[in-house]
């Protein structure tokens, strides 16, 4: 699904990612853990196509297509989705309008017709229930005045509507209380399938109790220093990140 080879990324002259390689197969859930400043967010931004980063080496491919050459909207249409750590507030653009615009852009890219208004409403109402959100959120401006938890749920709602192939969750657990975390995790779990892959970027092990990964990577100073199963996350939780560096 997603294949990253020896990816090197700079911000200005500063090297942030120093050769990352990662293969995620369809249906797999990977987690990337790492201390602050290890390059976790840079990785998610580069995958989604945000400006301000220079790829100095390596490659990123989604299903064999070169991702680095694609505009962010093209990546989204090809099925890559980033759930933001800090979702942006957009006053004046209603949530339901964005959901529909997003879905239609994806459908048109696939050669499908625009979604029928009634079908769309049925779909949205079904998904919003899944995330325990009130329908009134649909008619509010995107993320404006939403609490931290509401914003994260809204990200998952967008994901559920767009039905991407490759989902990147950037610190989705940050700022969530335990109830909200459970709802968000249940939403994500309901989207797990054999053809859909996930990459979860997180500082803490907590999220992984609810969304159990197949593979855990540890990112430190721009490099993956260790890869293992879910048990690696528990080990990190107990010992902290300090021992990884020593061992390497």
């Amino acid at each position: 699904m997603l294949s990253i080879k020896d990816l090197q990324v700079n911000i200005g002259d500063k090297s942030i990612l120093k050769g990352i390689s990662l293969d995620i197969n369809p249906g797999e859930v990977h987690a990337i853990m790492g201390p602050n400043g290890s390059g976790k967010s840079t990785l998610s931004h580069v995958l989604a196509g945000k400006d301000g980063y220079t790829i100095t080496g390596g490659s990123i491919e989604i299903e064999g297509q070169d991702l680095a050459e694609m505009a962010p909207e093209k990546r989204a249409r090809e099925g890559l989705f980033l759930a933001f750590q800090y979702p942006v507030e957009i006053p004046g653009v209603s949530n339901i309008y964005l959901l529909k615009a997003a879905l239609n852009a994806v459908r048109l890219h696939k050669g499908l017709s625009e979604v029928d208004a009634l079908d769309f409403l049925t779909l949205v109402k079904e998904k919003i229930k899944l995330l325990g959100m009130d329908e009134k959120f649909l008619y509010r401006s995107v993320n404006q005045g939403f609490s931290g938890g509401e914003k994260k749920r809204n990200e998952i709602l967008q994901m559920a509507i767009m039905e991407p192939k490759m989902c990147i969750l950037d610190e989705t657990d940050s700022g969530l209380d335990i109830d909200a975390l459970q709802i968000v995790a249940a939403g994500v779990n309901s989207l797990r399938s054999e053809s859909r892959s996930f990459l979860m970027i997180t500082h803490y092990q907590r999220l992984l109790d609810y969304i159990v990964p197949d593979v855990v990577h540890v990112l430190s100073d721009g490099q993956i220093v260790k890869t293992g199963g879910p048990e690696l996350a528990l080990e990190l939780e107990q010992k902290g990140y300090g021992w990884i560096g020593q061992e390497a």
Binding site: G49, A76, F84, P87, I90, P91, G92
Partner: protein
């Protein structure tokens, strides 16, 4: 400078030729008022950038064209179907084409009998005393060339008089259309809401076929005790037109004035708005100006609180693309006896290109000591983080920019309380941001 003088002379020379055709020749007071206007115009001419209030807006190059008063040109017959695009649904209409009232194009069926709505030229024949009570009263302390020009030259206008306690059930639209090239039109509107009355008026200015022309329009608005007036204005002139308008309102106690201005057209537009707020009266003034190409749109507003307990709200938003230039000058003046005033003035601007420009100048002049006055101004571009966020949701960069620009404008559209006018403005805005993805969901 020499050319400015000679163009002024051309305007003044023309006056002798046209004055006998202007309405109200048999009314001494009006003849005298017009003569004063002419005298002052002859001395001052049109304002130049040496005048502090006009330093950002230079009309001299456009005025040099010596637009010819429309009254000396024969009116071209306009077919009702040509007007279709200008009518806002569910409104009464008074139509002025090339400075002349058109009875056949106007629609006033079902207007309550007690409400007086007619062309100003008719009002000067049928109820001259009523006109005399108001004409020139709201602009009496104002002093610039366009007002004097308008007073001397006006050929027509809208006269609205809503008697005490009468509530107009639907809006009245003034449809002002210019169809001829290189003409000057001058109209004077009088809008009067007597005590406890309620009314809604939409002033709309269009150019059809003609490209370059001058529209001079002055509206004097009188809102008596406990009366509530809503005034919307749409300026959608032709692409080379010069539009100079002024709204001057006088509010008595416990009255309210809601004003909403949409300025989209013309090569150069100067929109003046002067409000005098009475005791415990409230005004809510809003505007949206959208410029592109080489358009220049100047909003010059002033709010005067002479009495205590008044409140004023003002929000103007500008969107400028290409080499367009916008101006916002807002002045709130609170006089010594006007205690307990609550006033807020805001101007937010969105610059869509590196060459677009905004000059914004909010001003508070306060002589009273117990008042609450706030003001704020922002100038910005579309937010990169928001554009990226929308792109990450499969929306193209172009669509994302249009969406965000439209969202910025939409706050002002949402303020429109008349659904017909709201749809009308939305349709005009959507022409400006033509991405197919922005559609009826906004309606």
């Amino acid at each position: 400078m020499a050319s400015a003088v000679s163009s002024l002379e051309k305007y003044v020379e023309e006056y002798d030729e046209i004055k006998s055709t202007l309405p109200g020749q048999e009314l001494d007071w009006l003849v005298q008022l017009r003569r004063q206007g002419l005298d002052q115009f002859s001395t001052q001419g049109f304002p130049t950038i040496r005048n502090e209030d006009w330093r950002y807006t230079n009309v001299t190059p456009l005025i040099k064209k010596s637009f010819q008063s429309v009254v000396v040109k024969p009116s071209i017959a306009v077919m009702p179907e040509q007007m279709h695009d200008y009518y806002v649904p569910d409104c009464w209409q008074v139509v002025i084409v090339d400075g002349h009232f058109s009875k056949t194009l106007s629609k006033l069926d079902g207007l309550p009998e007690e409400v007086v709505v007619m062309a100003l030229s008719d009002a000067l024949i049928k109820c001259p005393d009523k006109v005399k009570r108001y004409l020139g009263q709201a602009v009496e302390n104002e002093d610039h060339g366009f007002i004097h020009y308008n007073t001397a030259w006006f050929s027509e206008g809208l006269f609205v008089w809503i008697p005490q306690q009468v509530k107009m059930k639907q809006p009245l639209q003034l449809v002002h259309v210019v169809t001829q090239e290189n003409v000057a039109t001058a109209t004077r509107n009088l809008i009067v809401a007597e005590a406890g009355a309620e009314g809604m008026v939409i002033e709309s200015y269009f150019g059809s076929q003609a490209q370059a022309y001058l529209t001079s329009s002055i509206s004097e608005v009188f809102i008596a005790e406990n009366a509530h007036l809503t005034l919307y204005k749409l300026q959608n002139e032709a692409s080379k037109a010069l539009h100079c308008s002024g709204i001057y309102s006088r509010q008595e106690k416990h009255s309210s004035f809601n004003y909403l201005d949409f300025s989209f057209g013309g090569l150069m537009a100067r929109n003046e708005l002067h409000v005098n707020v009475g005791f415990a009266a409230a005004c809510d003034l809003n505007g949206l100006f959208v410029g592109r190409g080489r358009q220049h749109i100047d909003n010059h507003t002033s709010i005067e609180h002479l009495q205590p307990r008044g409140s004023s709200r003002e929000l103007f938003k500008g969107i400028l693309d290409g080499r367009a230039r916008g101006v916002f000058q807002g002045c709130v003046k609170v006089f010594e006896d006007a205690q307990k005033i609550d006033s807020e003035m805001h101007n937010h601007n969105l610059l869509l290109s590196d060459n677009a420009e905004i000059d914004t100048k909010p001003q508070l002049i306060i002589y009273a000591d117990d008042v609450k006055c706030a003001h704020g101004v922002t100038v910005g571009q579309l937010d990169d983080a928001s554009i990226f966020y929308l792109q990450s949701r499969a929306v193209s960069e172009e669509d994302a920019k249009d969406m965000l620009t439209f969202a910025f404008a939409n706050e002002m559209v949402e303020k429109i309380k008349v659904s017909g006018f709201k749809s009308y403005i939305l349709a005009l805005l959507l022409q400006r941001f033509p991405q197919g993805s922005i559609e009826k969901e906004w309606l």
